[in-house]
Symmetry: C2
Subunit: 191 residues, 2 copies
């Protein structure tokens, strides 16, 4: 076993992103990433399964975090409230990391294969939230629709947070997006 | 130019689906599809750009159809109503073709690459609906949220239509899904 390297995970991620941006994702090797971070390949593989995981690693923990938030919502909370808690928890995870998230986004946008992986992560997130809602006793149709809609809102909020010229708290953008969604689906009063 | 072949497009699609199912998508060649359909490769390429398009061909026309429905909605219609019209138009396109759609779905489910293409089609559909809504003067956030939510509802409705033991009209499943979505996002009355 190698010695413990302070911040190895973050150093590897930064080195990887710099190389992906400069040379493209396909052209970058794990050896190059490790070298730029001043670490060994062995250390790289202690932190990431492959060079794609440097970009996607956080998505697994995002899924876990959101599923836990749904499960932890009060028993009486309607599905939309449980989902809202999950969306706010996800926002907290990215808060203060917009620069890294924008950077990551630009790397993904430049590579069709990475874009596809990103879409698969969202599909898998929707399936996990659907299951978590059903485990709360939510009927099938409601759970499916809530999970897909929640992920749709997260996509919109995240994209807006990244695209805005000034950084705002992601949680604010999430709330604004959910409010807009509710306004869209609420029938206009007919008086 | 070859002579006109009656139902060539449908015969090629059926032959392709049979082969994809029996041998897998990767292992099937265009020559084999044409042979099984009793047609030439030349005829195949008059109808489809490649063997993937046999599965994905209709998605382009789906996008066109839905975008046109949004554009054709009355000027005073709120975004949710314009989107509802688009979803109902899409349902009409698939009505009566559930067997083919289920078959297609099982071929796609067996191939990771085809699943990714399918997700990309949905992402592209959301972007097209977003643009169509903005062209109606809908503000950015509302348009984005409506488009993503509409596609989420379509995914859920389509999956439910395919999965149900008995065939029901897709338009009914779409309406039921939109009603469930509205119920989920509507705040409970606080009296």
């Amino acid at each position: 076993m190698g010695r413990w390297e302070p911040n190895a995970r973050e150093r590897l991620a930064t080195a990887a992103m710099e190389l992906y941006e400069q040379r493209g994702f396909e052209q970058t090797t794990v050896a190059e990433i490790a070298r730029r971070a001043g670490l060994t390949e062995r250390t790289f593989f202690r932190h990431y399964a492959d060079k794609r995981e440097v970009l996607c690693g956080r998505s697994d923990s995002l899924e876990e975090l959101m599923v836990s938030a749904v499960a932890a919502a009060p028993a009486a909370a309607p599905p939309w409230e449980a989902l809202g808690a999950a969306l706010e928890a996800s926002a907290a995870m990215f808060e203060g990391q917009r620069d890294f998230a924008r950077w990551r986004q630009s790397v993904i946008a430049a590579n069709a294969q990475l874009q596809e992986r990103e879409l698969i992560k969202f599909a898998s997130l929707a399936a996990a939230l659907d299951t978590a809602l059903r485990e709360r006793g939510i009927p099938e149709l409601t759970a499916q629709v809530s999970a897909e809609t929640g992920v749709a809102a997260l996509k919109v909020a995240f994209a807006r947070w990244l695209a805005a010229p000034e950084e705002r708290p992601l949680v604010e953008v999430v709330r604004e997006t959910l409010a807009a969604l509710r306004a869209v689906t609420t029938p206009p009063s007919t008086d």
